[in-house]
Homo-oligomer: 191 residues x 2
């Protein structure tokens, strides 16, 4: 049992992608946050980020339906500093945003270090988030409804990232630095 | 205003795909059904199917968040007859189901007439549904959580179908038969 758990944890950490992130810009419905974290876990996102007031984290922890414990979550007070901090780490920030500037989501390179910025259910990506992002990406819509559910949009983009990264061999050898790897393994084994 | 609406309706009907369907096998949470119908509308699904007891349709109509009125929904009492009826129309039925028989979801051909069968939130695809399907397809999971949210899984598969169909030119000329096209246009203009 413990050996099996250890093997599963190692197999997961072997595929975690420290340079593929998600930044949630005011996404607040628990079922959406939960679905997004499940998707993050599935495509190997090691760390997600969220902009929300301090007291919302409690909600997230209760409702992440199992995935919350496997995807590290960092919260930020405002989107501007959050985007700057990701850019400071060398990541491109792609805002999922149906703006005039938007390019097709399949045309950008997700094998380079990047973060996908998702907007809130009602008002979408904030003005500050849209302004700070390096690019805007959109998923084509062939129907009458203007936008997709946010957890659906995040998944469509993240599985395109997964496809590109798998093709580039980025899941074939461990990509976390050894210290983070072992620290996380320790935390998962001793929660 | 009316001319603009007419143009939008026509542009949508020009891209509707009568031979790309979704069959929901006991999916019952309104927010999931709603998110799936939004995705159906976005990728041009003309008709969706659902297996559920007669009295559930009311829930669906209230909660489809706008997309329900643009995607025709047919309900079925049981999954076996629903699958047979789709197969009788010449469609392949691909069950999204993490079984031993499952092949990677990107390896199947969505340009041929087909329906994607999605399982319920808790128990997944029913035994009868899994047995009746022509193939099982799975989305790769690189993490610790066993499955994706059902509306997320449906979207990842449907946007792969959209990608294949766009590459094959299936959105370039109208694919609905003229009678269905005009009948639907009439219904949308005079709800
Ligand atoms: C329900 S949408 C927000 C809609 C909002 N009314 C707007 O105009 O932006 C929630 C988020 O999902 C993402 N999203 C939804 N549909 C999308 C699409 N077709 N392309 C890119 N992102 C999308 C965006 O991040 C968006 O901010
Ligand atoms: C939450 S899952 C059901 C989980 C259920 N415990 C089971 O074992 O099947 C709901 C539905 O989403 C779809 N789904 C979720 N993750 C999937 C994946 N990785 N591949 C294919 N389909 C998936 C399937 O149709 C599944 O029946």
């Amino acid at each position: 049992m413990t050996a099996e758990r250890l093997a599963r944890f190692r197999a997961t950490l072997d595929r975690r992608q420290p340079d593929l992130r998600v930044l949630l810009d005011g996404v607040h419905k628990p079922h959406n946050v939960s679905a997004i974290l499940r998707t993050c876990d599935a495509v190997g996102v090691y760390q997600a980020h969220a902009v929300w007031p301090g007291d919302r984290l409690a909600v997230h922890r209760q409702t992440s339906a199992g995935a919350g414990q496997w995807v590290r979550m960092r919260t930020h007070e405002a989107v501007g500093p959050a985007v700057s901090s990701l850019q400071g780490e060398g990541l491109q920030v792609y805002a999922a945003h149906l703006s005039e500037r938007a390019v097709d989501f399949r045309s950008v390179d997700y094998t380079r270090p990047c973060a996908v910025l998702m907007g809130a259910e009602l008002w979408g990506v904030s003005q500050a988030g849209a302004a700070a992002a390096d690019a805007h990406i959109s998923i084509p819509m062939a129907g009458l409804v203007a936008s997709l559910n946010v957890s659906v949009a995040a998944a469509v983009i993240l599985f395109e990232a997964q496809r590109q990264r798998a093709a580039a061999g980025l899941y074939d050898t461990p990509r976390l630095d050894p210290e983070t790897y072992h620290q996380t393994l320790f935390e998962w084994l001793h929660p």
